[in-house]
Symmetry: C2
Subunit: 541 residues, 2 copies
């Protein structure tokens, strides 16, 4: 029996997680996540793994409800309409909403602790793990008729103190260590660079929350990740103990908390939904989304003074119960500066213990290492240099295991109980697909074009073909600039003269060729004035 | 005697430092810095404080050679050709080069420790401080005929172990505390949020450098800030002790190290300039600039494999002796991932002690607080929320002092030994000026236009006026898209039809009005297809 595995996304970037498992009868994927763009200036909403390169997929197993694991579910469903989907209850609710928004219908099969998903090629045994979203699972794949267990655990931490979810069942993992001779571990590399080796418990935050909530602020506005239901519950509990009302506020919070209630993770009276100003009693804690300073997030809207219910007041306290996701630092700073203008108090995780990670520190990794005792480690969920560091770490901590860095589209096979790795030569085709607007793909060339204009502006040159045919250079030549300095206006005549010179001297016959000559002359002329070349588009009508 | 002071830049952002001091006879400024743009997609090179709003300036006193203090010197000189400039020797060399590049000639007066600059309105006494560039000074301004000392110390740390520069002369500062009844302190807020309260010494890095240099790497490529001459010297010394050759490499490194040699801060044989491959001996340390992952930096060029002398090898070690300046995280990650692809070793300050800050931690601030014992504190060099935090900190640490948050263009006056603060209502005019290309200003509206195109693309519609006048709708209508998805191509006929419909139904007479109607119709049509509205520009010729 041959089995082949391929990481499609998430192994050389953070985000866009997808893992392909191919058996004799079918191909299945674990997770279908999106990646957020590096640069948000170019209107790209998100990136999805390049599904077009996938073989026919019959099943999708979702590990948890974060966007980097479920965000592309509608795209995958569209490409493989027959796909059968499996998810834990909370992720199911979130994925279902996503499919509905895309006008797609799918039944999602629910799985939980203790279940065994019996597929034609694999038994899949879910192992509950702690993470920053409830109802998260690692998956043990048992390829049928092999002596192999593959444990895919892309996002996890080990939280013994959580009063929400039990920690990973290490005993279960060590059973595989006893019963299977080949054990492949694909595990989280997110925090491999972190100096904090043991990821702290969600519960550890309660002390600071209670302490801050006991202070004299009439209103506390706290922003965190909407999917972190455990934290939201803890905050509400801490607020209650300090006689503060607790609310969630904003579309994203409502969506996640609603799913949590539907999934039985929260009780309806655990936390109130703030829907009108009259509802709001003080002292209070209002939990909002937008902790990354997103332009459309509730947090930024409040900070900027645009929110209908909240205008910042000098006696407000704002808590950022979050960390900056790399790339968002400036947006977050700008939001904090807005709040600072009102003189409000600001508390971030730099100063107080108001945030913990959802990912494994080195000590958390060791727990899984030692229980599962892999014969082969493959670091996942990390940028390329994270994966390398994870490999190095395992050399020290798991000397008996092999470790291999595999990046997207690399693959490995189980052949007669042997593991054979194939290095894949990356091509441009495999790069993730960029999605803009109504879930529509936008090509990299279009982004490149926009980047050129964004850098150096665009100049539109328009004239009638008669000017060429009749050599009447008195006919109007329109030169319009967009995104260029006003300084250039005084050179308008100079630019027109440049165009006329081209038309006078050109020996080209076709409009296309003349247009190209004009473009080039105008570019050069402007470069002489400004020191850079804009995009020039000439139309001869 | 009346004196008025105004912060022009650097108090609500990091960068663009400038402080205006107005006396009875003249107006002087301290520093003329630039700020780096938030978003580098729009071709803005840098921002300068809005000089246009300044009264006539006769003198510029430079505290040190960092770009956020000298970067705008040519712009200021152009506006005030008679300006007299003062600077410490190293900053003088750097500012001189900057003026030369802008084809400007100026004599810069050098000052150093123990000097007193005697101006018509002020005595200025420079106080040497430690910072991440040598030859940095705080300035004590003594307005004549007052009992006031104003200490402006925007960038500093307290480094007792430096073998390059002595720490701030606290005794000198405490003399002012004894002799002046009014003491105003404007001090660094950069690190006010940091958990590291005592900024560590540059010298403290030597242990890790030596330890890494003793390892088995044939080549170590280390990137740091080119202006940190003390670190470069220490690295070269550590390399020598470990029998490694040390080189600087790249344009920026050459410039700064050259100035350091010219200024007597380094000896010519302290470090070699790597100018050809033959020169390179192994084992070595090569110090390069580009630690922020800048696209044009030496570090990224090497990482990407484009450098003429260096191609990364698996046995190379790359050290980032730096921190990420907020906003650069992604660029740095991308560079590290490039290196990871080659399998090289990467060492960052997250894992090893290879970087220290150049700015005051809370303990450093306390040293100056207690020596100078200000009657009034004004936090500077920080974003708005940093300034607020610095104020709060001083309430605890300097209970006898007043503290006031002043942002750009706020002002204060000394009137009969009393301090009178004026809050300024910010206007759009004061915002820093954006510079692009050949030192030319680009207007915010132009950036806004480019941002719109960058987000949603641009569509060019062109047709002849005859189509309107003759109602011959068979005449060609050209619709060209730039930066839009290929998906839109299949709607070309649909868009043309939309244009024709507008032309058939319009009652407008002028081309401008018809163009506006066409723009709007095409926008709406595309929004229906893609879910977003591009910029549309229609030309009727």
């Amino acid at each position: 029996m041959n089995y082949k595995f391929q990481i499609i996304g998430g192994a050389k970037e953070i985000g866009g997680n997808m893992f392909l498992a191919m058996g004799p009868h079918e191909n299945i994927v674990i997770d279908a996540g999106i990646q957020f763009p590096h640069d948000d200036a170019f209107g790209v909403n998100y990136l999805i793994p390049n599904f077009k390169l996938l073989p026919k997929i019959t099943r999708l197993i979702i590990t948890h409800g974060h966007e980097d694991h479920i965000g592309a579910v509608a795209h995958l469903k569209r490409l493989f309409p027959e796909i059968i989907i499996y998810a834990p209850r909370f992720a199911k609710c979130l994925a279902q909403k996503k499919l509905e928004r895309a006008s797609l219908v799918a039944t999602i099969n629910e799985y939980t602790d203790g279940d065994q998903i019996d597929l034609p090629d694999f038994f899949i045994e879910p192992v509950r793990v702690n993470h920053s979203i409830p109802d998260t699972f690692g998956l043990v794949l048992l390829p049928k008729n092999t002596d192999t267990a593959l444990f895919y655990v892309s996002d996890f931490k080990y939280d013994e103190q959580s009063n929400f979810d039990p920690p990973i069942d290490l005993k279960k993992l060590s059973n595989y260590a006893k019963t299977k001779t080949q054990r492949i571990l694909l595990a989280d590399s997110t925090n491999i660079l972190s100096r904090t080796t043991k990821t702290e418990s969600e519960t550890s935050l309660c002390e600071s929350f209670e302490s801050i909530f006991s202070e004299n602020f009439p209103r506390i506005i706290l922003t965190t990740f909407s999917s972190n239901i455990e934290r939201i519950k803890n905050i509400a509990d801490c607020a209650r103990k300090q006689n503060r009302k607790a609310y969630v506020y904003g579309g994203s919070m409502f969506k996640y908390v609603n799913c949590a209630v539907e999934s039985g993770l929260l009780q309806a009276d655990d936390i109130k939904f703030l829907e009108s100003k009259d509802q709001l009693g003080e002292p209070c804690v209002v939990i909002v989304s937008g902790c990354q300073g997103d332009f459309k997030g509730t947090f930024r809207r409040i900070a900027a003074g645009y929110d209908a219910l909240f205008k910042p007041r000098v006696d407000d306290c704002f808590i950022l119960s979050s960390r900056s996701i790399p790339g968002n630092e400036k947006k977050i700073s700008m939001t904090l500066n807005k709040i600072a203008e009102y003189g409000c108090t600001i508390i971030t995780s730099q100063e107080r213990h108001v945030h913990v990670s959802g990912h494994a520190g080195k000590e958390d990794l060791k727990k899984v290492y030692h229980a599962f005792n892999p014969t082969q480690l493959i670091p996942i969920h990390g940028e390329h240099y994270f994966l390398n560091k994870h490999q190095l770490f395992s050399f020290d901590e798991l000397p008996s295991s092999k470790a291999k860095v595999q990046v997207n589209f690399d693959s490995f096979e189980i052949k007669n109980e042997e593991l054979i790795f194939s290095k894949h030569v990356p091509t441009d085709d495999e790069r993730p697909i960029l999605i803009h607007g109504n879930d529509i793909e936008i090509e990299r060339d279009a982004i490149k074009q926009k980047r050129k204009i964004a850098e150096n502006g665009i100049v539109l040159v328009n004239f009638r073909s008669e000017i060429v045919s009749t050599k009447n250079y008195a006919l109007p030549i329109s030169i319009q600039t967009l995104g260029l300095p006003a300084h250039l206006n005084s050179y308008h005549q100079h630019l027109v003269k440049n165009v006329i010179n081209v038309l006078k001297s050109t020996h080209k016959a076709s409009n296309d060729e003349i247009q190209a000559e004009v473009n080039s002359a105008v570019k050069t002329a402007i470069n002489g004035i400004l020191g850079y070349k804009p995009v020039v588009v000439t139309h001869i009508l």
